[in-house]
């Protein structure tokens, strides 16, 4: 809880323009409310008759529309390569010293890369990652292929003190990634993601040969440029992605950069059968033993004495960390929660539709969180006054009544629950909480 003193000072100093603006508006409306009528401000846009109030609700509506637009995505379940192997190549050449992105391109890239790694493992829990830096014409191994996000982030943080210098070599970076991706099994994806600030590459050999080799190895390359389009990058992406050039993008500012970077945490769509060989893997889901109060025993993976661990579901040998392969019987051991994390990709929640006033009378409160909805009679009085808002409402993205309906269970929800359900929870409160009168099979796995 940040104390209110600090908040007021912040608006005096103007340290952060965004923050200042936000506190400014809230205090303003706060005062106005107290002076005028003391209406308890609802999260749903309160349509005050005064000018300030309508601006406030406009802002609210715009925010809702922004949130909804982000939500309105394609919900057809696609085949996605969920076991990913990705090499992250970071440009650390002279071009990264530029300060067009604050504080420098280099530092910003490292910061976003740490966020990327966290999100990558959140979304692709049994995937692997390696990091390579391009500095002084050579490719530098920053972190080898592995599945531990904290290891990667720690190694990446060490790079903050080192100065970006020299020319970058795309070819060296790509050849090193090829070596990294060689051992990876055929059922996973092989990807290279390059963050590239320079407009040139100084290579020891023929770049086109490298591209051919990448194609042969079924490695796909995505590039986020920081300055301008570079022909060889475009060609590289296009050729390694079956002629699709969407994987090459150039960031216009730091927000855009972050957006492009984070977009790549979602697993890529598998286009062709050759890109990844689908297979049925036999896996064990061992139980975890804490070993508290019992004698310590050796683990089979490192021959070390340790108290807790996981017992292989087939041969009962103890391994100390997951995911791993049982050294005794060769069974792949994994935490079932690792797999379960990706199931919302398979059974995506359908988009919820905006509810018009005509249907809105059915509900008085959000079905999931029980927060009351705006009543028609209250809202109708002022609605016509704000033309801008009506326009946004007409686009059918934002609901005029503040209600959103699930197409399956037809229950009504508020915008916060809509955003939360689609971005975090991936469950519909309505569909999950009443199964009376439904055929049992149809409910069972409808997430």
């Amino acid at each position: 809880m940040s104390d209110s003193d600090g908040e007021y000072q912040a608006s005096d100093d103007g340290a952060n323009p965004n923050e200042e603006l936000a506190t400014g508006t809230t205090t303003k409306t706060g005062k106005q409310r107290a002076a005028w009528e003391g209406v308890q401000r609802s999260w749903a846009a309160v349509l005050d008759s005064a000018g300030d109030g309508s601006i406030d609700s406009m802002v609210q509506t715009l925010r809702e529309s922004k949130q909804r637009k982000r939500l309105m995505k394609d919900t057809t379940p696609l085949q996605r390569g969920i076991i990913r192997h990705l090499v992250l190549i970071l440009d650390m050449s002279f071009a990264m010293v530029e300060k067009d992105m604050r504080p420098t391109r280099q530092l910003l890239t490292i910061r976003y890369a740490s966020e990327f790694i966290t999100e990558y493992f959140e979304q692709n829990p049994i995937s692997q990652l390696a990091i390579i830096g391009l500095r002084d014409g050579v490719a530098e191994m920053i972190s080898v292929m592995g599945g531990n996000s904290t290891d990667h982030i720690e190694k990446l943080k060490l790079q903050r003190g080192k100065e970006a210098a020299g020319a970058p070599s795309l070819q060296n970076g790509l050849e090193m990634s090829r070596a990294q991706l060689f051992h990876t099994p055929a059922h996973g994806t092989r990807e290279v993601l390059i963050i590239y600030g320079a407009l040139l590459t100084s290579d020891p050999g023929d770049m086109h040969k490298t591209i051919e080799m990448l194609k042969k190895d079924k490695i796909r390359v995505s590039i986020v440029g920081l300055a301008a389009q570079v022909a060889i990058c475009a060609e590289l992406c296009k050729k390694t992605n079956h002629g699709d050039d969407k994987n090459y993008s150039v960031a216009t500012d730091d927000h855009h950069f972050r957006e492009l970077f984070m977009k790549l945490t979602t697993p890529p769509i598998t286009r062709t059968k050759e890109q990844s060989q689908a297979s049925l893997l036999s896996m064990g889901f061992p139980s975890r033993i804490s070993g508290a109060g019992q004698t310590m025993s050796f683990c089979v993976c490192h021959n070390k004495l340790c108290s807790g661990g996981y017992l292989c579901s087939r041969c009962q040998s103890k391994v100390c960390s997951l995911p791993s392969e049982c050294p005794v019987c060769g069974l792949t051991l994994i935490l079932s929660t690792h797999l379960a994390r990706s199931y919302h990709h398979l059974f995506p929640l359908q988009n919820w539709a905006a509810v018009s006033w005509k249907d809105a009378v059915r509900s008085v409160a959000c079905y999931a969180c029980q927060s009351p909805f705006l009543k028609l009679s209250k809202a109708k009085e002022k609605e016509t006054e704000i033309e801008g808002m009506v326009k946004i409402v007409e686009s059918k993205i934002v609901s005029e009544s503040g209600r959103y309906a699930c197409p399956v269970c037809r229950k009504h929800f508020c915008i916060d629950c809509d955003v939360f359900a689609h971005e975090v929870l991936h469950n519909c409160a309505g569909c999950q909480s009443d199964t009376r009168g439904l055929a049992d099979e149809s409910v069972e796995f409808a997430a």
């Binding site: 925010r63 060296n172 290579d203 689908a278 297979s279 069974l331 999931a368 929870l425 909480s433």
Partner: protein, 359 residues
């Protein structure tokens, strides 16, 4: 009721200690409670839980509580009571009026702290209504409980309460979701307590796991108090969200366990030694028969789990033709090693010379 909540929040930001929201999910599965009739009758369990709720409210007067029932086929709000539905408002409204009269007489009892009485009345009234509206057909239809729905509602409510708390409290920056703000470990401390009596929930595997990961992202611990049965996925949920999982052996002592293990909130738990799980069962439910398995077959494209290789080696979820491996005792890894050696040499030679040359 909203008014009360609103003032609670207002006070919360001025007072020192961080308020916490306790969300209780009460498994009201009639089949399971019938089995406990002789050791811990339902009414006694409710009485114990009410004492626990009062203790939670007494810790900090800005503390909040919410209770939801995970019934046989639906999840139902017990406290706070949902605003009445206009469609079938008639019968429930009259029912409520009758009850409200008795409510007020109870509330005027001077020897009882008013907030305690409010919750007790509301909770008991909702429970009576729930039991009254449960038909024989409902009970016959299933022996399980609607845990996934209750968890989904609980998390939605907590998400909303966190947003509301931030809005009324220090609104330093506009936060559209509670996610961004929860990283800083300030604001409302929410936790879920599941009082569970039912066994297997395998057919709700995916929604329960989705709820678990959402709770983890919101940093909401999902405490589990198991009175009967054993549920693999609730064990995993407690482990994933770093919460307490307790399986009671002596049901008479339920209040003791509630008070000692579940009363401290997240901030207090940092200074305590909380009970840990000796064994966490990490088995999964297969997609084909919803049975719980410890060794399964996993589609490499969509990660669906099957207990036996599906017919024709076609994944039932994503319909991909899958290559079947040799699932004997010998792992299929050994031949790969040869390949690795050859290729590594090849890759090594081509990147060795960094002679700068402008392209």
């Amino acid at each position: 009721m909203d008014g009360v909540d609103g003032t609670d929040r207002q006070e919360g930001k001025q007072d020192g200690p961080t308020p916490s929201l306790l969300f209780i999910i009460l498994d009201t599965n009639p089949h399971a409670w019938a089995l406990l009739q002789n050791t811990l009758p339902f009414s006694k369990a409710i009485a114990n839980i009410l004492v626990f709720i009062n203790a939670h409210l007494a810790v900090n007067n800005a503390n909040q509580v919410a209770v939801i029932a995970s019934h046989s086929q639906r999840s139902v709000w017990l406290y706070p009571r949902p605003p009445s539905d206009p469609q079938h408002g008639d019968d429930s409204d009259t029912g409520m009026d009758d009850e409200n009269k008795t409510d007020t007489s109870n509330l005027s009892d001077a020897s009882k702290y008013r907030p305690f009485a409010l919750i007790e009345n509301s909770l008991l009234h909702s429970l009576r209504k729930l039991i009254k509206t449960t038909t024989e057909a409902d009970i016959k239809a299933t022996t399980s409980t609607q845990m996934a729905g209750a968890l989904t509602m609980a998390l939605s409510y907590i998400n909303k309460a966190t947003i509301a708390f931030l809005d009324t409290g220090a609104a330093a920056k506009p936060t559209p979701t509670a996610l961004d703000s929860s990283d800083k470990a300030v604001g409302l401390q929410s936790r879920i307590l599941v009082v569970s009596v039912s066994g297997d929930l395998a057919y709700q595997y995916i929604p329960i796991m989705n709820s678990t990961f959402a709770a983890q992202r919101l940093r909401v611990p999902m405490d589990i108090l198991k009175l009967a049965g054993d549920t693999v996925f609730l064990q995993q949920a407690a482990f994933t969200t770093r919460a307490v999982y307790l399986q009671l052996k002596n049901l008479q002592g339920v209040l003791q366990y509630l008070m000692m293990a579940f009363l401290p909130d997240q901030l207090a738990r940092k200074h305590l030694v909380v009970p840990t799980q000796e064994v966490v069962d990490f088995r999964a439910a297969c997609f084909c028969h919803r049975s719980v398995v410890d060794v399964g077959f996993v589609c490499s494209i969509c990660l669906s789990i099957f207990c036996t290789p599906p017919e024709g080696a076609i994944c039932l979820t994503c319909e991909t033709q899958l290559a079947l491996g040799d699932y004997g005792n010998k792992p299929a890894v050994i031949p790969k090693k040869k390949k690795k050696k050859k290729r590594a040499l090849d890759g090594g030679s081509s990147r060795a010379t960094p002679a700068p040359e402008a392209a």
